[in-house]
Symmetry: C2
Subunit: 424 residues, 2 copies
């Protein structure tokens, strides 16, 4: 039998090196002009756990945001969406332990008061302060933890890696680890800039809610328009390509602060520096997105689903998402089973047109299906490859040139335990 | 506090009594003119398990079928879809243990030979014989079990409840029990008719495949057009409203034989008898569909998701399906948790328009959310209600008059075990 070549997916590389950047220290504070803090304010019962994060720019600066599309959206999303649309802000205050969702008018009032408290401490307008929450829904968010916690957080603000780390820890819920990124690199203009940030997200959060909150910052002097475009594009190729359990939260929020501290001319969409900053932001967001998938509730594996040979990008995304959301594919990965039949069934069910006789599938770089038929494989070798922390599934639909990618994780007993614990 | 009334869903009743029918014995053989058999033919390694079912009409009669929409469709689906479209058939042969899917030309040849073997034994044309398969995919289906098994099944054919039961058992895979239904009732014309059948389906089947196979029969003398219309409508309100794991199989097949043995004038769509037969068929299919959901892989609960107050039926179905497929809702049911936040998030994420401030939600007839806000409930009483085998979740979107319903099951540790067992 002739050797069958594995599939090669034609995609832009994700590594920061591809755009001339490299990892550095500092998280969201890697961006010059940003300070952060994480404190224990009392939103959670456990006093040893940070639950209030504050991220502040030294001066009011450019900001861009993307938010949940869920019809049920939380009070802080309503507030921050409107304020981020103004294009400039000074700070964001985040809490864990309570999502302030399905809380009606009192919830909205609480979110507004929280931003007013921060504004009073920082000496800025309330409209320049954004807010985000994650945790239980349907329970009114108390104001008291803000009253004592905001001054404490302002006092703790620092432009350091440790402070950024504290902020990243303060937004964790079922996350098993904080998730940070920081990159540094030179732009074509010669300016040295940073992109940093943190994210939380691990599926849905006990006992009620899913949330992904991300705060990113750069010292590149992006214009408001450039910040918005770069963020939207980066989110589209990173956080929007992650699915832990197919559930979109009521609180999803992703913010980008651009302090401009790197100096020099403003960078708009036509600047030669723009594509490089945008690529670095994309790389940073993909890094965080992969951290979310790898830390999915109960996950033992990060799963990357690549689809190539689709008629268009929408088809590629639909098929990749259908495979990534299939409980049968996810349990097969948990079971170290290169079960291409489940992948094929998931690809075939989502309404995208292709010919089953043209479909090729690889698991972990090993051809398992060619032209819709089983390819004999070395089962022992496949089991050895399944020991890796990351499982790559690649499907060629043979229907065109477009490709797409989605990250997910396996579906395990621990997912059921985390989300199905008896409520007593 | 004033008592909050539970939601009342305006839907056609499902019980056979609603159309003047009542349960009877006989399964698919309840329809006069039908015979069935189940034998062990060797498709499975276990010789004590039936794996070949044969269902035969005494004479060639009206037939209608609905089939999977999956792009990956199995060889028997290709054969049966074409033959059922002719509107008349004599028999269907079904096997478990191998789905004959992703088997290319050899698979197609095997399916055709199987029908030829049955035709030779029965003395009819091969084109009058349909075929269905369920089990592993990507593995060639051997012909040998048909060669010995078909004559044995023909010899065992009987018009009895026991024979119908054998057939129902022969198509089981991960099903934990056979699933049958039989109804009897009088039509407006005075004729006494029967509707009976069996189904298999339990999620996806080890190690590779999902399949729902259903065979229904009636002795009402439906015309080809009436049989097609009644079956399509009944399937739309029953099997197409079941989701165990959101995965559509490559082999789904549902057939209706109408023997006409009840005699009298043919029943077409304009006959006063038609709506009654159609209602009985709908009732029978809903009974079988609920049996599938209740026997979903690893399920401990049947879950009925009702959506009312939608702008249109499509919206109601989309929201109901989004809730029924949410792993977070399904694990919450497993955990006896009336977690309406997860239901709200699932409703909100699917692109259907509604105002969160107009949403009401009940769990098991207990109001838990009104106008998008939490309703205090008696947690002990709710936990008591969760002991029931069936969990009803009702959502009023407050956006219109349309309603819809989907059946599913909870997501449990056993689901992960069944589908994630290490392949070694």
């Amino acid at each position: 039998m002739a050797t069958i070549e594995p599939l090669v997916v034609p995609m832009t590389p994700d590594a920061p090196e591809a755009c001339g950047f490299s990892p550095c220290e500092g998280g969201v504070c890697a961006a010059v002009g940003m300070r952060a803090a994480g404190v224990s304010a009392g939103f959670r019962k456990n006093p040893n756990r940070y639950d209030l994060a504050l991220v502040v720019a030294d001066e009011t600066c450019v900001v861009a945001g993307t938010f949940t599309t869920n019809r049920f959206c939380a009070a802080p999303v309503t507030v921050s969406r409107e304020r981020a649309a103004r294009g400039r802000a000074r700070a964001v205050v985040l809490n864990s332990g309570n999502a302030n969702a399905a809380t009606g008018e009192p919830g909205l009032a609480c979110a507004l008061k929280a931003t007013a408290l921060v504004a009073a401490e920082l000496g800025c307008e309330p409209e320049e302060v954004l807010v985000a929450s994650t945790g239980v829904i349907g329970v009114q968010l108390p104001l008291e933890p803000y009253v004592s916690g905001v001054p404490a957080a302002v006092a703790a603000l620092a432009p350091t890696a440790a402070a950024a780390h504290d902020a990243a820890c303060a937004v964790m819920t079922t996350d098993t680890r904080p998730k940070e990124v920081a990159l540094v690199g030179a732009l074509p203009s010669g300016r040295r800039v940073h992109v940093g940030g943190f994210v939380k997200g691990s599926g849905m959060i006990q006992p009620n809610m899913a949330t992904m909150l991300a705060v990113l910052a750069t010292d590149a002097p992006l214009t408001e328009g450039a910040a918005r475009t770069a963020l939207r594009s980066a989110v589209g190729e990173s956080f929007n390509k992650v699915t832990v359990d197919s559930d979109t939260s009521t609180n999803d929020t992703c913010l980008l602060f651009a302090t401009g501290a790197a100096g020099g001319e403003k960078i708009d969409g036509s600047s030669p520096d723009y594509p490089v900053v945008a690529a670095a932001l994309r790389s940073a967001c993909i890094d965080l997105a992969r951290q979310i998938a790898a830390d999915g509730e109960g996950a033992t594996k990060l799963v990357t689903v690549n689809v190539m040979g689709a008629a268009n990008e929408k088809d590629a995304d639909t098929v990749a998402r259908s495979i990534a959301n299939s409980p049968l594919v996810k349990t097969a990965v948990f079971g170290h089973d290169a079960n291409w039949g489940r992948v094929a069934a998931a690809a075939g069910k989502c309404g995208v047109a292709f010919d089953q006789a043209c479909v090729d599938i690889d698991f972990l770089g090993v051809p398992v299906c060619r032209a819709g038929l089983t390819v004999p494989m070395d089962e022992d070798e496949m089991l050895r490859r399944f020991e890796a922390p990351e499982i790559e599934i690649t499907v060629n639909l043979g229907a065109g040139e477009a490709c797409g990618r989605v990250w997910t994780c396996d579906l395990t007993h621990d997912y059921v335990t985390i989300n199905g614990d008896y409520r007593t």
